[in-house]
Symmetry: D2
Subunit: 343 residues, 4 copies
């Protein structure tokens, strides 16, 4: 089958023919139809420091996708051949204390498809049946293909209730843009998008942001306080990973408010913990992955009910063969989310 | 009346005669019997950078205390003359959105007795009736006198349930030592005390710590993992304020665990947010003051029921006139909590 | 001043001249502008069994209202003369354990205006300053006048998060109708209204209900299961007080779902606790009053932001003098909410 | 192998030879060592109305047990031959929305061993690997054998935090007696046991109850109010299933308190919902089974740490062959928990 592969330990990716994966009795084989390109894929393409330490070529990339069930193992009764599905790409042990208490998203034995084992930029991908999520007809292939990053946004925004709240989204990459729409759909009274790129702020407005702030002018804190009667935002979702974005996130949050950190800073970040976290009585939550599988059901229900439309975030649709075009559009900031048509 | 006063903007404190405070119709006058010396009082004694920016002499110090109601304003019906009482020393506005939603502990209009207005190192102190808490007979004067820092410990430890959990207390000053006892009383299965001072570790053991770790040997993380089957502590209470203590707190916490930050670092702290907070899915809570007044009722109930005995933490008892002795004992690390007899 | 008064222990109400109330130093005098008629007022009008046991004539009725601050006691700094305000009509002790832990709504010393002491169907009403809530310009007089029952609805619907959930509202009196709109505004994916009156179901649709069910046909359970993929509603708000409505509420709730009981049944209700509550693992919450004052801030923020429009629920607007017309319209089921213009 | 079997649709049970069960690739075969007799087993013995509607003979009974892993399917890597284990007896579908969101305990496709399929009163029992829980050395065989009912008690008591709280346990069968000890271990300040049997109240005192009440004298409410300063118990665990026990549970609970219903009433129960639930603002939770698998880990950690000793509840130990003796001791009220030695 054809696949996008990290074939050698160096920059770049290749479209290659590789063998189709087989499945175990408790696994499912999926014929991939659509797949999204993630920032992680960019890191691997660029063969950066993190990639060199984590990736063992040859590896089929890709962890955001949807497709159709092509084959099921004989112990599988939760899905059947022909089902339209997406899947959680984090394969967990299932029996550690974290998995047994609803915290599979931080299982220490996690293997991620497209990172630690072969992924979904391919005609077929194999996964445990427990990881498969069926997709209702009301949700398009394209939207189902990005359930992985969309789930990051749902996990972040809905960690605690935002209904009636003032919510700030710091950093408007694809996940931040999704988050804007989710916060509005969940009844936030005010969604503030903080992002330097005018193009992304424009998409943030399309997704429902009532206020947009360019952090470059150095008045993020003042502007958020002005918008919130001097209190600050009730909930802040940090999705930039930038040290200044992180520090701003603590500062623009109201006392006793909630900051959720999703964006990954490259290095240690110096934070004024006394003044910006402790004296303010903040609650801070580190967000990784998606709740298994509460986030998936929530996301499915929001989209199937039409509560949020993520279309504005998908800026590029390309055949799998043109993946280099997609990566280039992401690298130059022109693209928000790029979706590849695999078959 | 006699009082311990910051009379001039310089190092030191004086025992002086000052006028008795008057009360408003909604206030209460308390004849002080016992008062605890806090680290904050040390800062003010030393006239450090923070004190110079915050304190406006002349000022009567003291915010940890108990006494007897001497007079009540005519609108007060919640307490009466002769009641044994302690009091919340944070005087809040009562009508901002934070106060109206159970978050008075982070009211932005807070005035603290002994810091922003005259305090309790005096024969009499005046406070709003809303701040007064009556003390059952089962609780001694001495224990009631330290309800302020004890409340910090209750607020921290019981922010979420610790029953059956492994709890690490990082930093064993008086609040850390209280925290050890509270965690045991609340049913923690394992309490680990992390502290360099052998004397304080000895008190930690008296308070119920089953394991003690000196962070100086650089193996805090390994030791905590060994004690917790490789997972880390479920709940970590950071009470040192030391940058290394804070960083260790994140590292010794299990994935999806809870870190509560109470100790105040002097400067910004560089934290590995990606590796130690986000990838681990941690919940972090900044602790300031006491919940008004859930913490006070909780603390009263624990002590009145004999669930925790805080006696080992009170190492020094002195007449008010000997306050310099108490401050010296705290400065040289010999004392945990010093209680002054005012009358 | 003129007021609607229960003058004698018998059926009916009278418009009378009564003395203006005076205020204490911590109280506020409000010039009433608009007031809503509540079902409770109907009970008192009819002088039913409950009224005879609770009401001590002469009494000025009315507990839903808004107006303008006319005078403030000298200890009051939270509002000033001229402020547009509504008010919590439950006057609580403020110092019992319930009040001190955020549970004032169930304070056992509660005195309710218009029930236990003179109320707001009058040109002036006096209340403690703590009970006063200021109203932003974005909220009309008429809407502010019904913050009391609207708060019941907010308290019920938002007890736990409904974003993305299927919510059933059983009973569409004014509070049920408000609840429909609130659930939609808070991001419910599906709101099902259960109510026999076609007129009220029509208002429920205007408020956003996507499905309406007449319980008279005996297929409530089947219909709700059909609408929810066989699981049942995630959240059920019981607002009828009818024994069948209550029993249906448990039955139409999904396993591990939430039932909130607001409607007051006249007598004991026989419930299949084993089959409908225990085996289903339900969470049930008894709703009384409004959270003080979280509910008030939430309600203010939702309305000021335009998240929900309650206009369809206010079916009748009358001058105070025509209160009998309003009561008649409520008695014959023609009216949802009736608002009186007092001045 | 030998097994205790419901061979025919009539009263009684038989010790018989039956074939050993086989296992699927994802299942585990356990050599049973100890098994507890449950009230459910009594119902099936007596062939009561419920049993006749649910049980399909022939059936091996028993769902409380522990043993040693004898064989594992080839897909199983979570346990190995020789491990000491207990097991969750509710076998769930694993892929419905309830299972996927941490609510497996109310999965609608649940099959219970010893009820819906062959159980553990036998030399061997087969279960899915996901249901197996390993037992640390610190926990005895006998205690591990009753993890099923013990888990009911943990699920009930620890549904929300009881540290520092006044907890009432209504009904002191084995699960109620376990609950007494768990509440004390979790830091309850006061545990009140309500139960008519003097023998069971004596065990309740051994388990740590500080107050015991015989409901027969009709003063349960007065006594609980006296013990709780007039407020009522913070948390009430209803474990009798008796209509009066259930009604008392609501009445002895403080306003805004928590009632958990575990005991199963045979018929509908008439409850004063207005006065005893709604006006009081109660939270009520229906408890069924054990959280999968949070309850199991909690229970394991409490017992392994020695926080609670359940020995006083196990009153009878018998060889499997003498099961009739155990059933008789339960029937006449002489026994609390009976444990059978299977091998």
């Amino acid at each position: 089958m054809k696949a996008i592969v990290k074939a050698e330990p160096r920059e770049g990716l290749d479209l290659r023919d590789v063998p189709e994966p087989g499945i175990n009795p408790d696994e499912v084989l999926i014929a991939v139809r659509r797949a999204g390109i993630c920032g992680t894929d960019m890191h691997i393409y660029n063969w950066d420091h993190w990639s060199q330490s984590r990736i063992r070529p040859p590896l089929v990339l890709g962890h955001e996708f949807m497709g159709e069930v092509a084959e099921v193992g004989h112990l599988v009764d939760s899905v059947k051949v022909g089902d339209r599905v997406s899947a959680e790409g984090h394969i967990v042990c299932g029996h550690c204390e974290l998995c047994l208490t609803g915290n599979s998203h931080v299982c220490r034995e996690t293997s991620i498809i497209g990172v630690d084992q072969d992924g979904a930029f391919a005609e077929y991908v194999a996964l445990p049946a427990t990881n498969i999520v069926t997709i209702p007809d009301a949700i398009s292939d394209e939207h189902a293909a990005v359930f992985d990053p969309l789930g990051n946004a749902f996990h972040t925004v809905l960690h605690t209730d935002v209904s009636g709240k003032a919510v700030a989204i710091v950093g408007c990459g694809p996940i931040g843009l999704f988050a804007v729409g989710i916060a509005r759909a969940a009844g936030a009274r005010l969604v503030i998008a903080v992002e330097p790129s005018p193009g992304r702020l424009e998409i943030a407005r399309q997704m429902g942001a009532q206020a947009t702030i360019d952090p470059a002018d150095g008045t993020v804190v003042e502007q958020v306080l002005d918008l919130t009667n001097g209190y600050g935002a009730d909930v802040v979702c940090e999705m930039s990973g930038h040290p200044d974005g992180i520090r701003d996130s603590f500062r623009i949050c109201r006392n006793a408010g909630h900051v959720r950190l999703l964006g990954l800073p490259r290095d240690d970040v110096a934070v004024n913990l006394a003044g910006d976290v402790i004296f303010k009585g903040l609650e801070v939550y580190g967000v990784i992955g998606r709740r298994m599988y509460g986030t998936w059901i929530e996301m499915r229900d929001f989209l199937a009910a039409g509560l949020v439309d993520i279309s504005p975030v998908i800026t590029h649709r390309l055949p799998m063969e043109d993946f280099e075009t997609g990566i280039a559009a992401m690298a130059n900031g022109e693209a928000a989310k790029v979706v590849l048509a695999v078959s």
